[in-house]
């Protein structure tokens, strides 16, 4: 059954049809929540709340990209989680490593151990710098550079204007670049900015 038919059935209250959509999109939704929230537990809560909210408000989906519609819901759920709990700042790279080990990663097995370690250090550094960004800039950077959405899609997801999206992305990247340049000694040479 294609996605459109599943959506129509789910809009009529068919939970099984909606769960098939959940299975299709839960990895993508969790990824965004994880990159925005920075914590696995908080990301899981935001993802679950996002799918519950999506089921409640299926009637408001009038067509277009269902994935983009879900992304809007999960970013709002992340904002709600931020407000609901205090975000614990990450104080050391050891904590980042522990977080990364707890989250199953879909990584390539082609890398050797040393390359794998280097990649892990880079990922940790990027994640730390991402966590230091303001919420709206972090969301814009994740949607643009991690998930690959274009400016118009990001404006729709974040319910803001194109100019605001451009501004947030440029400021986020500038801060990320400055943050990574401050950690260049920790990064492999080929990854140093």
């Amino acid at each position: 059954m294609d996605e459109e038919a599943l959506i129509v059935k789910a809009q009529r209250g068919d939970v099984q049809a909606f769960n098939r959509l959940v299975i299709i999109y839960q990895d993508a939704v969790y990824n965004v929540a994880y990159r925005v929230a920075g914590e696995p537990d908080l990301a899981a809560d935001a993802t679950q709340e996002a799918f519950i909210s999506a089921f409640h408000n299926l009637g408001s989906f009038k067509g277009g990209s269902f994935k983009a519609w879900l992304m809007r819901i999960v970013t709002n759920a992340c904002y709600d989680e931020f407000r609901r709990r205090k975000r614990r700042p990450l104080s050391s790279l050891d904590e980042i490593s522990e977080i990364n080990e707890s989250a199953p990663v879909l990584s390539s097995d082609e890398l050797g151990p040393e390359a794998h370690q280097q990649q892990a250090e880079l990922v940790a550094a990027i994640e730390r710098c991402l966590h230091d960004l303001p919420d709206d800039q972090r969301v814009a950077a994740v949607l643009c550079d991690v998930e690959g959405y274009d400016y118009n899609e990001i404006a729709e997801i974040m319910s803001t204007s194109l100019g605001t999206v451009k501004s947030r992305i440029s400021r986020a990247r500038s801060k990320l670049r400055d943050c990574l340049q401050g950690m260049r000694e920790l990064l492999p040479i080929e990854y140093r900015l």
């Binding site: 209250g13 939970v15 969790y30 679950q48 519950i52 990027i126 451009k166």
Partner: protein, 291 residues
Amino acid sequence: MLDFLKALFRSRADVQRERLHAYLDNALPTEERRQFEQALADDSALQAALDDLRLLKMNLSRLPRVRAPRSFALNATVHGRAAVHGRHRPKTAARLYPIMQGAVALTAFFLVLAVVVDLSTGRAARETAVMTAADSPMESEAVALMEAAPSPAESRMMTAPEMTTTIEAKAEEGEMSSGAMFFEETAEVVVESERLVEEDAALTQSAADQPHGGVDSEAPPPIAPAPSAMSTAFPEPASEPEAALELTPLPTLDQPSAATPGRSLWQTAQIILGAILAVTLTLTLYLRRRL
């Protein structure tokens, strides 16, 4: 509004930076892209900044994908939470909604049909009445002359010569025909009838003046009205003077005809169908909100 104000207070450096990032994301318009590429060719620092951004973007895009730690499908507990929020009866509403849609459409169709039939029936009745009036010119003239003739109340006030004069004067204003002659003879009958009534009254008075008890005295029988030209020409004698002037009123265009009793039935049907349409439409809108 805030975006407009922010745009006003953006520095030149901010504008340049945004343009750099937009170029990296292929989000610049064609003309701006061409201009920026010319600036890139002339500015090595700008080219270096673009290279740094390109590396950063690549690193961000290569962040490993994280698998969902568990299934987020809605289970009974979660669905129960959804039911609490009022979504536990979508199936009933989903089943009834298309049925109500069909009911609204059907009711609207029959209502329109009833209105069309009612209008066409009413038009036919009016056309029939017009044709009936056009086919009987004598009757139409009689109606016109009847309108010209004084009313029975007025005729009681007038004497016979006065009434005759009135009729003659009004008839002279229009065309005279057999109808006018008919009214002339009618006036003569009225005059004759008045004379007879006066004689009857006189006889009655004289009978009343005679002493009572006289068994031998007999009241003379009332004088029957003498036969006149009217009774021979018109076989239906009038019992009262005023009755001769009274004609059966012809149905006018404004009066409802008794020949179309089914018209009120269509109006009743319209009212009933309209009520049904209102109810079904309300239910349909309610079910739509529930879905």
